[in-house]
């Protein structure tokens, strides 16, 4: 890292990649989580278990998996995604999706029992029920999205392994910190760390504000 421009670039890239990953993961993740929360299907328990396990999966292992998929000899090798922001987005989608599914399931499974009965009494379609459940628990789902975003912004394993830490291209805040530390510039690494802390505080404050809304009956 050389100047403030690099810090801004790394910050912007971290935010943009994480936002893209969460947005992509949310498309199947939010409805799937809401459906699981309402469902009595026999698939519910194994899917929820898988999502919860996925939440705690080490980021470096996900990075390794994505590396294998996007590297030259991997199934997606011909797209030349390795060491591009797209590869980091793919990895972070895999980080975010289980969290969105698991927290979305928790949010909708705690809905008032009368919700399910009313949906059944009105003969609403499953898709409609899932949509209504998402609206009913929108603050809790917002919390899930912010939590997933926070995990993506602060992760290192995926960004380092499949991003390659290329200055101005794939260098995120966390990989920049790792680089400065390896160079022995501890002060600079700490300054970047404070930027990350400021982001984390901002995200957590937003999550806390959203969570206040989830305590409604």
């Amino acid at each position: 890292m050389q100047g403030e421009g690099d810090v801004l670039s790394a910050t912007w890239l971290s935010l943009a990649i994480s936002a893209a990953a969460v947005a992509i993961a949310a498309v199947p993740g939010v409805p799937l989580g809401a459906w699981l929360g309402l469902s009595r299907s026999r698939w519910r328990a194994p899917i929820v278990l898988a999502a919860r396990v996925g939440m705690s999966f080490p980021t470096v292992l996900i990075g390794l998996l994505v590396y294998g998929v996007v590297s030259r000899h991997g199934p997606l090798g011909r797209f030349e995604l390795l060491f591009t922001p797209h590869a980091i987005v793919i990895g972070e989608v895999l980080l975010a999706a289980p969290m969105i599914v698991a927290l979305g399931e928790t949010a909708t499974s705690s809905l008032d029992p009368r919700f399910r009965e009313t949906v059944a009494a009105l003969r609403l379609s499953r898709a409609r029920a899932v949509w209504l459940a998402c609206v009913e628990r929108r603050e809790a789902i917002g919390v899930a999205l912010f939590a997933a975003f926070a995990r993506c912004v602060t992760e290192l394993g995926v960004a380092l392994l499949v991003g390659g830490n290329l200055r101005g291209e794939t260098r995120t805040l966390t990989t920049a910190i790792a680089l400065e530390t390896s160079r022995g510039d501890f002060d600079r690494a700490m300054r970047l760390g404070w930027v990350l802390v400021a982001l984390a505080v901002g995200l957590n404050a937003t999550t806390a504000i959203l969570q206040r809304g989830t305590s409604r009956p």
């Binding site: 009368r114 009965e117 009313t118 009494a121 009105l122 609403l124 379609s125 609206v135």
Partner: protein, 195 residues
């Protein structure tokens, strides 16, 4: 013609509990009041008739499932305006938006709830929520109406409205559960006491 018939029915709840229900046959267009102490199975019976509770035994429903409306004792309203709550019930039947809005307005008006149209559920009293829930049931123009303790939270005007609904039921089958059905009993040709 039979609207509902129960023979040897045992209701099964999510928690594994069961409840045996009395055998019963209700004809189309009939008004039946279910009375009995708390826990006698009035609400469960209504839920079985509405197909909202799993059951064993023989349940015959003479009405199409879409033509049966159920209003619980503590109705649930979604986090949207009262108007949208009512309109939601006819959202999937292929009506044009203008027709949906007209029918919704008419149902709210019939239940004395036109002034509540723009309010969210948080802004409604229990009695007002009950009126909106009744409108949501009526907007579908059901052939059969299942009401669980509908008079509970209602004021005198609301009670008169429900009793008017029972009185002017036309061809509609109505089954009402009520612990003290004095007002309803006077209107219902048939009262079933569940003990």
């Amino acid at each position: 013609m039979t609207a509902f018939a129960l023979t040897g029915v045992i209701a099964r709840f999510d928690d594994g509990g069961t409840l045996s229900l009395a055998d019963m046959e209700i004809s189309r267009g009939e008004l039946v009041a279910l009375t009995g102490a708390n826990g006698s199975g009035k609400s469960t019976l209504l839920r079985v008739l509405a197909g909202l509770v799993d059951s064993r035994g023989s349940v015959t429903r003479g009405h199409d499932a879409r033509a049966v409306a159920f209003v619980g004792a503590r109705p649930f309203l979604f986090r949207r305006s009262a108007f949208d709550n009512v309109e939601l019930a006819i959202g999937g039947i292929g009506l044009a938006r203008l027709d949906r809005r007209r029918r919704t307005g008419a149902a709210l008006s019939r239940c004395g709830a036109s002034h509540l149209a723009g309010r969210s559920p948080r802004e409604l009293s229990d009695g007002e929520a009950q009126r909106v829930a009744l409108a949501r049931a009526l907007v579908t123009e059901p052939e059969a109406l299942l009401l669980d303790e509908p008079l509970g939270p209602l004021d005198a005007e609301g009670e008169a409205l429900v009793l008017g609904l029972l009185r002017d039921r036309g061809e509609r089958t109505i089954v009402v559960a009520s612990p003290s059905a004095d007002a309803i009993r006077s209107l219902a040709p048939r009262v079933v006491d569940l003990r």
